[in-house]
């Protein structure tokens, strides 16, 4: 049995390790597109802030890890899939035969149609190679413009600020992290960044970037312009499905999978940022490009590939974001569900905000700013659909007692 995994991110690596646990004899090959050992994009901001070196971003710290587990990691980019003959054609020639295939090719940064994004000094912040370029350009005191203040943009934001650059963040939507937090929370975040010296421009688009003598000029929809030594583009990502054209594997926003992470092609599975899988909260199939989901997908897909049928009951959308000491997070149906109650507490001065969304007496979503203790119980309560009973009334009045409510309900203190 030969398991081939396209992609050396967390989904691919977790899948390979799970496959090895399930089947000690199978051949397992990871094909990674980049010229690096498997590493984590999540860690790149910490490389930029100087907390770790490149090795610190590696998904497995033991250099012999893959070899010791009989996992072959090869640099190769998939060119085309021939599912009928269970073959992958590689971009630089050659082909790989598989028995089971996992598509875990991840996502790539989106390049909006803005003139000047191809200029030198404009970079995405996605790969280690991008990071090296940014490390080189973003020195203390330099002017840097960040295009996009969504979740990924905001993570990069902290790293850039910690490098001591003079930063402007430009977000076309009316608020920061619009797909992670509501107006109150993102307003708090914006104010926080502004207090920390970041120029945050929401509801503003970058119209054009031009090259000046020793700088880039960034013109904005507001009519103003910013100068910059470096522009970092974080305008979203899109699943890497291009190579599947004509393969018979159905794609939409990502690779379409069923409740077992199987694609429309036999013996082909998908996981991670590329997979359009079930969202726990909505029940719909969508791409959730986040680390914990990649890990869950990788493990479940591998179990199915190994013949141990394991349903994927849907992954929970959740994010955690650090902003120089201010930690925010969101879980599940953070913006509420139809007909559900909600409870919110806000202390703007203290940068504390907690909003709970309920489905009957079950927790459906959480947004939190300034809360970190035991915050994982939000996931526990949402995913177990634990009935809160009288604790719901407690939480309606005192949302901050979430951890208590969880422990109480799980302990039968009702």
């Amino acid at each position: 049995m030969h398991h081939v995994i396209l992609g050396a991110g967390p989904a691919g690596v977790l899948a390979a390790e799970t496959l090895r646990k399930q089947d000690t004899n199978a051949k397992i090959t990871i094909l990674g597109a980049e010229d690096e050992p498997p590493y984590s994009r999540m860690a790149i901001p910490y490389l930029l802030s100087g907390q770790i070196d490149e090795e610190g971003t590696y998904l497995r710290q033991d250099a012999g890890h893959y070899k010791n587990h009989g996992i072959e990691v090869t640099r190769a980019r998939a060119g085309a899939l021939d599912a009928k003959h269970k073959k992958i054609a590689l971009e630089d020639g050659g082909e790989v035969q598989y028995d089971r295939l996992l598509i875990a090719t991840g996502a790539s940064p989106v390049r909006p149609p803005v003139e000047g994004l191809d200029l030198p000094g404009v970079h995405s912040c996605w790969t280690l190679e991008d990071a090296r370029a940014i490390l080189d350009l973003a020195q203390k005191g330099d002017h840097v413009v960040l295009m996009g203040a969504g979740f990924i943009g905001s993570i990069i934001l902290e790293a850039l600020v910690s490098r001591g650059v003079k930063l402007s963040a430009v977000e076309k939507e009316d608020r920061m992290v619009p797909r992670m937090m509501d107006q109150t929370a993102s307003g708090m975040l914006k104010r926080w960044w502004e207090e920390h010296g970041v120029n945050v421009l929401t509801g503003t688009q970058i119209k054009q970037i031009t090259r000046g003598e020793d700088r880039l000029d960034v013109s904005l929809s507001s009519g103003k312009s910013l100068r910059a030594k470096l522009v970092v583009v974080a305008a979203g990502v899109a699943s890497n499905t291009g190579f599947l054209k004509g393969s018979g594997v159905d794609t939409d926003a990502g690779v379409k999978v069923d409740g077992f992470l199987r694609t429309s092609a036999n013996h082909v599975y998908a996981a991670g940022d590329v997979a359009q899988a079930k969202d726990f909260s909505t029940g719909e199939f969508s791409v959730l490009a986040i680390q914990p989901v990649a890990a869950d997908h990788g493990r479940i897909a591998a179990q199915n590939m190994a013949g141990r049928e394991t349903p994927h009951r849907g992954s929970l959308n959740m994010n955690v974001l650090a902003a120089l000491g201010l930690v925010s997070s969101s879980f599940g149906a953070w913006d509420g569900i139809k007909g559900g109650d909600n409870a919110a507490m806000c202390d703007a001065d203290a940068y504390r905000y907690l909003r709970l969304e309920f489905d009957g007496d079950r927790l459906a979503g959480v947004q939190a700013v300034g809360f970190t203790d035991h915050i994982g119980v939000a996931r526990g309560l949402i995913e177990t659909k634990l009935r809160l009973g009288r604790w719901k009334d407690v939480l309606m009045k005192s949302p901050e007692r979430l951890a208590e409510a969880y422990v109480a309900c799980a302990q039968g203190i009702r």
Binding site: P10, L14, S40, R41, M42, A43, Y46, Q51, I52, G56, T57, Y58, L59, R60, Q61, Q291, P292, A295, D296, R299, I300, T310, P311, H312, R313, M318, N319, V320, A322, G325, V327, S329, F331, T372, D373, H374, I375, G376, V377, A378, R379, G380, E383, T384, L386, A403, E404, Y406, V407, A408, A410, Q411, I413
Partner: protein, 158 residues
Amino acid sequence: MQKALVIDPVKCTGCKQCELACSYVKEGEFNPAKSRIRVFDFHQDARFVPYTCTQCAEAWCQSACPVDAITTNERGVKEVHDALCVGCKVCTIACPFGTVNYNASTGKVIKCDECGGDPACVKACPTQAIVYVDVEQAGFEKMKHWAKRTDAGAQASH
């Protein structure tokens, strides 16, 4: 023989000696806010519940860690390696029990590691509400059951 922390909330009086012992061993000071075990006070229901990591077999915290900073030791305990942890906090949202916490003063996450096989909380507990016993013993099954009730279902209840 594998051992595990087994907690019997009925015996707990809420004295927090476990939190003091834990924080002393881990932080070198008495500081319940940084303890890896926490006693929840439900005195209006006449209950106190010591609460800490149950060392799941397939740990969400571990698989969610982007930099391999959480590993399983020979006793099945999930350990955080400070040298590797970047403080991204993904494990804190991934752990559905809420037992991995972020320590803002170090920029790392903290969780129970059973003190290398000799848990300080157990020694400090005056009422044997927290004991460290062979996993075969009945109490552990109860603990497992509790873990199952609160985990995300079949996906991880191995």
